[in-house]
């Protein structure tokens, strides 16, 4: 098959950081090509160079054999390169139909033909298998639904090259299946696709070839059939990939001795987000929350963290009933909460790594008692090393870090106040294998040191590997707590969820 995209010797620098260093990349017509690498390996930068968001500092791009240089995403789109990003990049104040056709609306003279646009939108979504009210504002739909709209938009633009940058990270299993189906159909029609995902099973299911990047350099390209999972992880991490198994050993060796609960919820609930539930978290215990997207995982975590107000039941912490529970009093009592959406709810992008880390500690001390600079530097350096934050520069603005490293900064912030209960909502979502391993290892270590952890994750493997007990949620209800080791398996969780489904 002919090469449709050829990138050679691509280099890109960001204020002193070399994000890409002489990377070559080729894409053939009709292939699905996975770009793999840890966070910060340069995948996103490579994509952004190809889609015209960034101009390369060196190297050249051939599209259909002709050299091209894009100055904007619009230019790349016009040349036939469409992109679906991890974050939904649509405008949610406009209707679904308008988002699908923005910039290329059917028109009568100078005026947009809304009737034709809605009809075309309906036909397009029907084709893909989504039933939405196309005239409703996009904001009335969930993030997963909005992501599907974004994909539909990219699919409909007659693209030669379609780039899917972590499109599945907010989709549940059925939605992923349909997306992969759409990708196969497009590949059969000759569309070349670049697929970026941290879900190795999806990559192995769909990709024809893989290109691995590490630290901004090209490691190599392989046919999927020729590259086993262990070898792939080895290439991505550049070290022996036995680390994940090591975590398993840490978790297995550790067991909870103290039986008195540190935090205990009795009939705690909030109308419209989670039905009243009982849950106890003991000292030094990791409690996992498992369930599908929208099952109430995040809502449960937010209630326990005091981020939302409960309208039923009680919460006891350290034997005392909590009243007026809110994030500030929670932090003062030693309950730390890392929210799911690190961009909007956690980090201050323009502040440095060090400043972001110190925020919670400063808040806990009060504004009048500033943290002495020497102590601050020592603590920041200690946690950068402990969590393996890269680049290890405390003065780097946090927005320049990759997702996994941002997550580590957020974790470090809460660890600095030495919490007794750490609530982690999807700490590993959308980050690479290496950072994931670092975070998992950290959770195991912390609980071994006596910290209690509530761990929310969409990935069952991760929950089962780390947790001492697993609370299973479905339809905004806590349906079961799996206590014994034999119960805490992937299959058992799925069975529990399905058994409660009844009609489905």
């Amino acid at each position: 098959m002919p090469d449709i995209v050829q990138m050679t010797g691509i280099r890109k620098d960001f204020t002193g950081v070399r994000a890409l260093d002489g990377v070559d990349f080729t894409l053939k017509a009709g292939e699905i090509h996975a770009v793999m690498g840890e966070n910060g390996a340069g995948k996103s930068t490579l994509i952004k160079v190809l889609t015209g968001v960034h101009a390369p500092d060196a190297g050249r791009i051939l599209l259909d054999g002709r050299p091209v240089r894009f100055h904007s995403p619009a230019g790349a789109q016009a040349a036939g390169i469409s992109t679906v990003y991890q974050e939904v990049n649509l405008t949610d104040n406009l209707s679904v139909a308008e988002n699908l056709f923005a910039g290329r609306e059917p028109r009568l003279g100078p005026f947009i033909n809304f009737r034709a646009m809605r009809r075309k939108a309906k036909a397009l979504l029907d084709d893909i298998g989504i039933d939405l009210n196309v005239a409703a504002p996009l904001s009335s739909y969930s993030i997963a639904m909005q992501q599907l709209v974004a994909i539909s938009r990219a699919v409909d633009i007659k693209a030669k090259v379609l780039i899917l940058d972590e499109p599945t990270s907010s989709l549940d299993r059925d939605e992923v299946a349909v997306l992969l189906g759409v990708m196969r159909r497009l590949a059969a029609e000759g569309v070349a696709m670049v697929f970026i995902s941290h879900f190795l099973d999806q990559v192995y299911e769909i990709a024809d070839r893989m290109t691995v990047l590490r630290n901004g350099r090209l490691i190599g390209s392989w046919d999927t059939a020729d590259l086993g999972e262990n070898a792939l992880i080895g290439h991505m991490l550049g070290r022996e990939a036995a680390e994940l198994e090591q975590i398993e050993r840490v978790a297995a060796a550790h067991h909870v001795e103290d039986e008195t609960p540190l935090a205990e919820a009795k009939g705690l609930g909030r109308k419209g987000s989670i039905a009243p539930f009982d849950l106890a978290i003991r000292r030094g215990e990791v409690v996992g929350l498992a369930g599908l997207l929208g099952s109430g995982r995040t809502e449960t975590a937010r209630l326990l963290a005091g981020a939302d107000r409960a309208d039923a039941g009680t919460l006891e912490f350290d034997g005392k009933r909590l009243t007026g529970h809110n994030p500030r009093t929670a932090a003062a009592r030693g309950i730390a909460f890392c929210p799911e959406n690190r961009k909007t709810e956690g980090l201050v992008g323009d502040l440095t790594v060090g400043e972001n880390m110190i925020l919670a500690m400063q808040a806990a001390r009060g504004w009048a008692r500033s943290v002495p600079p020497a102590r601050r530097e020592r603590l920041v350096a200690e946690f950068i090393a402990k969590l393996g934050i890269r680049p290890a520069d405390p003065d780097m603005p946090v927005k320049n870090l990759s997702g996994g490293n941002q997550q580590k900064v957020l974790l470090a912030r809460w660890l600095l106040i030495e919490p007794r209960l750490l609530i982690l909502d999807e700490p590993t979502r959308g980050i690479d294998v290496g950072a994931k391993a670092d975070i998992q290892r950290l959770v195991a270590e912390l609980s071994a040191e006596g910290m209690s952890v509530l761990f929310v994750s969409a990935e069952l493997d991760e929950v089962t590997r780390l947790s001492d007990r697993i609370a299973v949620l479905r339809d905004r209800e806590l349906i079961d707590v799996l206590e014994t080791e034999s119960e805490r398996t992937h299959e058992r969780i799925v069975d529990t969820i399905v058994a409660r489904g009844g009609h489905e």
Binding site: T91, L94, F111, D131, L148
Partner: protein
């Protein structure tokens, strides 16, 4: 390809989400009707149709700058220069025709072109150099007030120029003495501006891009929309509207006052917000702005009919209304976030 039905339409009605954006404008219209009926009930002659017509005469320039401001605010920006550009345009009309002796129609075109050009320039500055619109347009506020006073620090009359009689030439609807009313040409210009703005905002690519950029500029860029053209365009529209408002003022008063329209930009912003447009951009209607301007006009009319109140009471009422509408917007935005969560 026909696949399995991947998603079910959420059980919760999406109708409410669709309608909640009409709530602020409905409140404004209800307020407008209540003010009018209150006036009719309390004051004799308030029901006279000329009272309504007068709203479109006295507030024609404000309506035009508020329409321009609607474009800017919808895109997520703000334009503080419109009051000064408007005063400058009136003064420039007087200077070009009375002092320089240029034919009035030519002067008029020059003034409108200049206002548009200024908007293009400041829009380009805001976009290219990523300057806060607040600061960039503040430049215009000072610059044009200064230039206006530089041309003349006293009133300049344009009564000698026959062309300026055109604006107040009026059309009678029915017999004015027997329940009919009259409207001057300049009111028709203002109404035409509203209609054209409505069509552009709702039915053209440029208009929809304004909403998209106001909703999320980075998303609009990644969707491949012409963000630069849109952002610069809204300031050009606002500049044009400010110049046109200045021309209408010249028609209405046939004189140029260097200290006219101080604070007009703030009146326009208030009218836009009371009309239901979100200050953060992305949501609102130009017809809401019309309603906002009429609320302001009716408040003034009511106070005039009352006769024993200082005209500052209109501002006090406007301040209270503005507060109420800002709070309403926040409450709506929050409930929207909650429903999605």
């Amino acid at each position: 390809m026909s696949t399995v039905q991947l998603t079910e339409r959420p059980a919760r009605s999406t109708l409410f989400d669709g309608l909640s954006r009409y709530l602020p404008i409905s409140v404004t219209v209800a307020l407008l009707v209540a003010l009018y009926l209150g006036g009719v009930a309390n004051y004799p002659n308030f029901g006279n149709s000329q009272v309504v017509a007068k709203l479109f005469i006295d507030n024609a320039p404000l309506l035009v700058i508020a329409v321009g401001m609607t474009f800017v605010i919808l895109s997520g920006g703000i334009d503080l220069s419109v009051g000064s550009v408007m005063a400058f345009s009136t003064m420039a009309c007087a200077w070009l025709t009375v002092d320089a002796g240029i034919a009035a129609p030519v002067a008029l075109v020059l003034v409108l072109a200049f206002g548009t050009g200024w908007g293009l320039f400041i829009g380009a500055v805001i976009h290219r150099f990523e300057v806060q619109p607040f600061i960039a347009t503040l430049v215009g506020l000072f610059l044009f007030r200064g230039l206006t006073l530089q041309i003349s620090d006293t009133d300049v009359s344009m009564r000698e120029i026959g062309f300026f009689q055109w604006g107040m030439t009026h059309v009678d609807f029915g017999n004015v003495r027997e329940g009919g009313f009259w409207l001057p040409y300049l009111s028709f210009v203002a109404i035409a501006v509203v209609i054209i703005a409505f069509a552009v905002l709702h039915y053209t690519r440029f208009g929809r891009s304004v909403y998209a950029v106001g909703g999320s500029e980075s998303s609009a860029l990644l969707m491949g929309l012409a963000v630069a053209r849109t952002k610069i365009g809204v300031y050009a529209v606002s500049g044009f509207c400010a110049a046109l408002a200045g021309v209408l003022a010249a028609f209405a008063t046939k004189s140029a006052n260097p200290l006219a329209n101080v604070g007009a930009e703030l009146d326009a912003i208030a009218a836009v917000v009371i009309g239901g447009t979100l200050l953060t951009g992305g949501a609102g209607f130009v017809l809401g702005t019309l309603a906002g301007v009429l609320v302001w006009g009716l408040l003034n009319t009511l106070i005039a009919f009352q006769g024993n109140l200082s005209s500052w009471w209109a501002r006090i009422a406007m301040g209270v209304l503005l507060l109420a509408f800002i709070l309403l917007q926040r409450v709506l935005a929050r409930s929207g976030e909650k429903r999605r969560a």
